[in-house]
């Protein structure tokens, strides 16, 4: 106890408790208004007349409200971006250019694999449309060859039957294989679109896909037989190709030497060695120029077609698969070196017997990531596993997501996309009903029910090449003769003379070396925000952070302590009264020691300090000392009389 007293005394000595500036809340408010740095408050106190005072109260409150409103606006608009567009004229990195033949594999090489399928397709065409034989085709030998194998079982139609539906009755369909009508159960899904039903057509063609236990089936119908047959062919084609080893597929496709007849970049010759092979499931071997394989990325320091890439491609139309692809040419895509070329989704098609000139303009965009916008720099904050060996892009994410769902739901991977680890491509030996599963999943994907679209974010920075494509006839009439013969010599491997429809010329170049960069930058920095808030505070009330501290001090700490003291005092009195009432002989509590009010009173600031008068260094003036209000105040408790005495002193 003694030790405690000691410590208490010590603390009291070292840390004299300074109370609030005034004994009551009202006093405190008054004191605050008179001494605060903010404008307005003082006016309330010093104004004479009720109306004026009221007006000033109103003004002050309005100002406070305005400040709150404006500051809230400022804070809520903190995460906005400003966009700046910059143009540089500089040496530019040439993008990677991926070139594919539209036809994936040489037909002569894959014919063995696809023979049955082709035959059945032809059979279907014959039964459905009365299409008998190809008369004007170059591929005579294929014809005879396929007809020789007539009569083998129609396995493909068994698996996925092609059906023709009579108009109006969707439950009855003609099976092409048997020619019999049969009942079809299951939902009808119009493949091309759910909205537009083609009513005029006499019959609709489609195929039926069933799930594993053949309990639920879906019929996919197409308005045109062309689409139906191509889609049906593609399904089987994917099945067959999924079972072929990658090495074999690469060998079946075109080699770089075969595809590229000549190559010219930036005024210098290049050849097949400058191209990197990249195997695409639907486009076969594609070749990427300037892939940056050994860390060297070619760059252009001059604009114009002479300084870009010029290639002549050999597109052998005779080797085209008649059912898989129906157009002739090549596909070109311009992309970043570390980007995966989605040749099936984007890309420019180029025609044969034409010079296609593609002028590029480079635009770079940089977005700000969280919290400014929902974009991502890399894979780190996307939950989907990357199955491509490339940097992040939205497209890659969506495809990876779809493939992951496919593996999850169907147990096998879709042929168009790379293979995740430990999974096989779908084929109907192992997964007999994968197609139904795939179609269902694909429908869900398109309807955004798989959640892929919400899981994948767009990439924060990307380069975009705006292409201006123009065509010209090539080779010209007069130069055709010599050019074709020299090109035949160049090609070397092919023994026959080249035709101009077998060739396509492609020019890809920077139109000029202007690079536009669109950069997002934060519109607000923290110092801007502070200065704007400061501007608002200053404008409405001439307030600053000091005022805020004052307000906290006065309104929270001081008023709380006043209230606490008041309550304590009350409690004390009440206690004393109770003590007195219960045992009147009990000695009164030692006021000087325990009475907090008294205690504090000692430590109350002097009036001078309360009024912010300058401190007098040698405070004691000889002669009559100024009245010590403190001493006056000592003998009474906090009372209204004080106010009376104070007012004249104040004014």
């Amino acid at each position: 106890m003694a030790a405690g007293e000691k410590i208490k005394a010590k603390i009291k000595k070292n840390l004299p408790v300074r109370g609030p500036q005034a004994p009551t809340i009202k006093e405190l408010m008054r004191w605050y208004c008179l001494n605060t740095n903010t404008h307005g408050c003082r006016r309330i106190v010093v104004s004479r007349g009720r109306l004026r005072r009221l007006l000033w109260i109103l003004f002050t409150l309005t100002a406070v409200a305005l400040i709150f409103w404006q500051c809230a606006l400022l804070i809520s608009s903190f995460y906005t971006v400003s966009v700046s567009i910059k143009v540089h004229f500089q040496k530019l990195d040439f993008p990677a250019v991926t070139i594919c033949n539209i036809n994936p594999y040489r037909y002569s090489a894959v014919r063995d694999l696809l023979a049955d399928l082709e035959q059945e397709t032809r059979g279907t065409l014959k039964t459905l449309y009365g299409f008998s034989e190809i008369t004007s085709r170059k591929r005579r030998e294929a014809e005879s060859w396929s007809s020789a194998r007539e009569g083998t079982g129609s396995t493909f139609l068994n698996l996925v039957p092609l059906l023709a539906f009579e108009k109006g009755e969707t439950s009855k369909a003609t099976d092409f294989r048997t020619g019999r009508k049969r009942k079809v159960s299951g939902r009808i899904i119009h493949k091309s679109s759910d909205v537009m039903h083609v009513h005029e057509s006499k019959e609709v063609v489609g195929f039926q896909l069933c799930s594993n236990d053949t309990s639920s089936c879906a019929v996919y119908t197409f308005s045109s037989g062309v689409n139906a047959i191509q889609e049906w062919y593609k399904l089987h084609y994917m099945n067959i190709m999924a079972q072929v080893s990658p090495e074999k597929k690469i060998n079946m496709s075109y080699s770089a030497e075969e595809l590229l007849v000549t190559c010219f970049f930036d005024g210098e010759s290049c050849d097949a060695r400058n191209f990197t092979r990249f195997h695409h499931p639907m486009y076969g071997n594609c070749y990427t120029f300037n892939k940056g394989e050994n860390e060297t990325i070619l760059s252009t320091s001059m604009g114009g077609s002479e300084y870009g890439l010029q290639v002549i491609l050999y597109i052998n139309e005779e080797e085209y698969n008649p059912f898989l692809v129906s157009s002739t040419g090549a596909k070109v895509i311009v992309h970043r070196q570390d980007e995966y070329p989605f040749i099936e989704d984007v890309g420019t098609e180029i025609e044969t017997a034409m010079a296609t000139s593609i002028g590029m303009h480079l635009t770079e965009s940089f977005k700000l990531s969280e919290p400014y916008s929902r974009c991502t720099e890399d894979w780190s904050d996307v939950l989907i596993k990357n199955i491509y060996n490339a940097t992040y892009s939205l497209q890659i994410c969506l495809h990876s997501c779809f493939q992951a769902k496919m593996v999850e739901k169907c147990g096998c991977a879709q042929f168009n996309q790379p293979l995740p680890q430990g999974v096989n491509y779908c084929n109907y030996q192992q997964h007999p009903n994968w197609m139904y599963c795939y179609y269902e999943l694909h429908q869900d994907f398109v309807r955004e029910e798989l959640g892929c679209q919400s899981m994948c974010k767009e990439a924060c920075s990307f380069k975009e090449w705006t292409l201006t494509t123009s065509l010209a006839q090539w080779p010209s009439e007069v130069s055709e003769k010599w050019l074709l013969s020299v090109l035949t010599w160049d090609q070397g491997q092919i023994k026959k003379k080249l035709n101009k429809t077998d060739l396509a010329k492609l020019l890809i170049f920077y139109k000029d070396l202007n690079q536009r960069s669109i950069v997002e930058s934060p519109a607000n920095s923290i110092e801007m925000l502070l200065s704007n808030i400061g501007g608002q505070l200053g404008l409405w009330m001439s307030c600053s952070i000091v005022c805020v501290i004052e307000i906290i001090e006065v309104f929270f700490i001081d008023s709380l302590s006043i209230v606490a003291r008041h309550q304590w005092h009350k409690a004390k009195e009440w206690w004393a009264r109770r003590q007195a009432s219960t045992c009147p002989e009990a000695p009164p509590s030692p006021q000087g020691q325990d009475n907090l009010g008294l205690d504090v009173d000692d430590d109350l600031p002097t009036f001078t300090s309360a009024l912010c008068l300058p401190p007098a260094p040698g405070g004691q003036v000889p002669g009559t000392p100024p009245p010590r209000y403190n001493t006056l105040r000592l003998d009474r408790t906090f009372s209204r009389q004080l106010t009376d005495t104070e007012v004249p002193a104040e004014s």
Partner: protein
């Protein structure tokens, strides 16, 4: 005397600061300043005083730091960009049209005769050499050949490549010149290369090609360049396609136009080119409506039969949209239009307007670029392409002492040709391949501040249709050649529609992101936020600093004075100064605070301190001042008035 008095008065008045000591001054400042922090320092208890002192210091440093940030941001000259998209009546772009073949073959045949024969022989030699046939039938002009011969390089043995001249049997470079089979090479074994020599054939370079097509094309182009470089310009123009042959029909909006509305310009790559609406002599034509009906419609005939066979392999028209008064760099920025087709081009004007220095590195008219603009002869505006080409030509003249045929010639220089400059091809191809040259040019040339691009949406359709073909060809042939025979065909005819899209402009305009108003408002905001201060507070502070300096000066003067006095006193060793003397000293230095005189005196000469001041002590100003402030203030005011 009068002036001195006046000055003294002034001095008195000036020094009449709010206090006589540093402390008083500070207290006065803290109490009366409008900044929020200092006031609290003096009117609180000791603990809070310390807190407020620290806070004030903290806020002051924060303000200084933030000001630094803002001023640095301001000096970084950032720009903000505004983008506007819409439609407005605008000047129709200038349209340049060229034929891909620079000359009519029928007119240049006599010039190219030797070269063509040589070319044919080369082709025969490469493809399938029937030796007897070549040697027997033609007497080739081997003088052209010898400047730049084509050779076979047999790289089957990579360590010992065999070089074979196409025409000479025994080329000395090849040690093991294999006989007959070596003469015929397939693409697998041999590559065709071009031999470029200088110094009379002593220094030779091989320019390799991966394909024979490129080799012969490049070779032919170089040789043809050499030939055309020696022909005067007027003749070249005459050999190209005349406007009336090329432009068959023209319609701008609803108004007809014809080939006379086109300004001819000679382009070394494409021969005669014709510019519509260049705006050189007349005002540029505006177009106030979007859509094909209000644009330019042209029918052109390329005359494909008359192409120079080895010079161009692509057939069609080359066209380009560009700004008025700007030179068309058609080879770089042009697009093709195909014959037998109608090509529709929707135009969007993409304009970038930049502020010049110090915001971005660009030039308004090219006057501050150290390269002489060779295209200024055409009276065209500055563009970076023009600068880069002028730069290349400068390098060419410097290195090879002759100008390249494809670029304009500075005064007093000559185009390169084999006769006068036998080494030029070697020199040119070395220069062309040199990256250093290009990079210096890119570094030297500045972008121009206003950059206009025309974004085109190109679509094509077959034209004329089978059904209308006959009459269209008939009418057009009749109009051009006044003949009833059809002189046109699908191989040469081109229709062009060029028009504004629905939104025809997109303007990106730069403006200063941070101007002086921005800077001031932010500085004010920061100062206000942390300390509630304004410019007036800064002035207050400056005033206090002046007062401070004054007090210091007064103290220093007093010190000096007292030192001198002490010295004199020491010399005379007189009695200690009386009160009157002290008072005199006070009045002389104007209400010198006694602490000031006593303070410094006290320490060095303590013995002096003890004797003086008999009688009444000097008034203690501090104690007087207790009754306050108001008195002093009123005093100040009274004096100031």
């Amino acid at each position: 005397m009068h002036i001195k008095k006046y000055l003294l008065k002034c001095l008195h008045r000036l020094q009449k600061g709010p206090g006589y000591t540093y402390k008083e001054l500070l207290v006065w400042y803290c109490d009366n300043t409008n900044t929020h922090g200092p006031k609290r320092i003096i009117c609180e208890g000791p603990k809070k005083k310390a807190m407020w002192f620290v806070l004030t210091l903290l806020f002051t440093s924060l303000v200084c730091w933030q000001w630094g940030v803002f001023i640095r941001t301001y000096l970084s000259w950032e720009v903000s960009v505004s983008l506007s998209i819409g439609f407005k009546a605008m000047d129709f772009p200038a349209v340049t049209i060229c034929n891909t073949s620079p000359f009519q073959y029928s007119k240049v045949k006599h010039l190219l005769k030797d070269l063509d024969e040589l070319m044919e022989a080369v082709l025969e030699r490469i493809l399938g050499p029937e030796l007897s046939h070549v040697n027997a039938t033609r007497a080739l002009n081997l003088t052209i050949w010898n400047h730049m011969p084509l050779v076979f390089i047999n790289e089957q043995n990579p360590h010992h490549p065999v070089v074979l001249d196409l025409f000479e049997d025994n080329y000395n470079g090849s040690a093991s010149s294999s006989p007959a089979p070596g003469r015929t090479c397939s693409a697998h074994e041999c590559k065709v290369a071009m031999r470029l020599c200088s110094h009379n054939g002593t220094m030779c370079n091989f320019r390799n090609f991966s394909s024979a097509t490129q080799a012969v094309t490049e070779w032919y182009t170089l040789q043809a360049t050499n030939i055309f470089a020696q022909v005067p310009n007027q003749e070249l123009v005459a050999m190209g396609y005349p406007a009336e042959r090329l432009i068959l029909a023209c319609l701008f909006g609803a108004e007809p136009c014809n080939y006379r509305n086109f300004t001819p310009i000679f382009d070394p790559d494409y021969g005669n080119c014709y510019i519509f609406n260049w705006g050189m002599t007349e005002k540029a034509l505006p177009s106030a409506n979007p859509g094909a009906e209000f644009g330019l419609k042209l029918i052109l005939d390329m005359g494909q039969e008359d192409y120079v066979p080895f010079l161009t392999s692509t057939a069609g028209a080359r066209l380009m949209l560009h700004e008025q008064m700007s030179y068309p760099f058609i080879k770089e920025e042009g697009i093709f239009a195909m014959s037998g087709m109608e090509t529709s081009i929707g135009v969007l004007v993409d304009k970038l307007e930049r502020k010049g220095e110090p915001y971005s590195q660009c030039t308004v008219n090219g006057s501050d670029v150290p390269i002489r603009n060779l295209y200024s002869d055409y009276n065209t505006t500055y563009s970076i392409q023009a600068c880069i080409r002028s730069c290349f030509q400068d390098h060419m003249i410097h290195n090879c002492s002759c100008g390249h045929y494809l670029y304009p010639l500075p005064r007093g220089e000559k185009y390169c040709n084999n006769q006068e400059f036998p080494d030029w091809a070697y020199c040119y191809s070395a220069l062309r391949m040199s990256l250093a040259q290009r990079e210096t040019c890119i570094d030297v040339c500045k972008e121009s501040c206003n950059d206009t691009q025309y974004k085109m949406t190109i679509s094509m359709a077959v034209w004329p249709s089978e059904a209308s073909e006959d009459w269209i060809f008939h009418v057009l042939s009749q109009e051009r050649d006044q003949s009833t025979n059809i002189t046109l065909n699908r191989k040469g005819i081109i229709k062009l529609n060029i028009y504004f899209q629905e939104y025809n402009y997109r303007t990106i305009e730069e403006s200063a992101a941070n101007n002086i108003v921005w800077l001031l408002s932010n500085l004010g905001g920061q100062f206000g936020f942390w300390m509630g201060g304004s410019v007036l507070c800064l002035i207050e502070f400056g005033e206090i600093i002046i007062d401070f300096v004054w007090i210091t000066i007064i103290r220093l003067v007093a010190l000096a004075k007292s030192l001198r006095q002490r010295r004199t006193r020491a010399r005379y060793d007189g009695p200690p100064p009386t009160v009157a003397e002290l008072v005199e000293a006070h009045t002389n230095f104007g209400f010198q605070p006694d602490t000031a005189t006593h303070g410094p005196d006290a320490r060095p000469h303590p013995h002096e301190q003890t004797p003086p001041i008999p009688g009444t002590p000097p008034p203690n100003y501090d104690s007087l001042r207790l009754q306050p402030l108001d008195v002093i203030e009123s005093d100040n005011e009274g004096d100031a008035i």
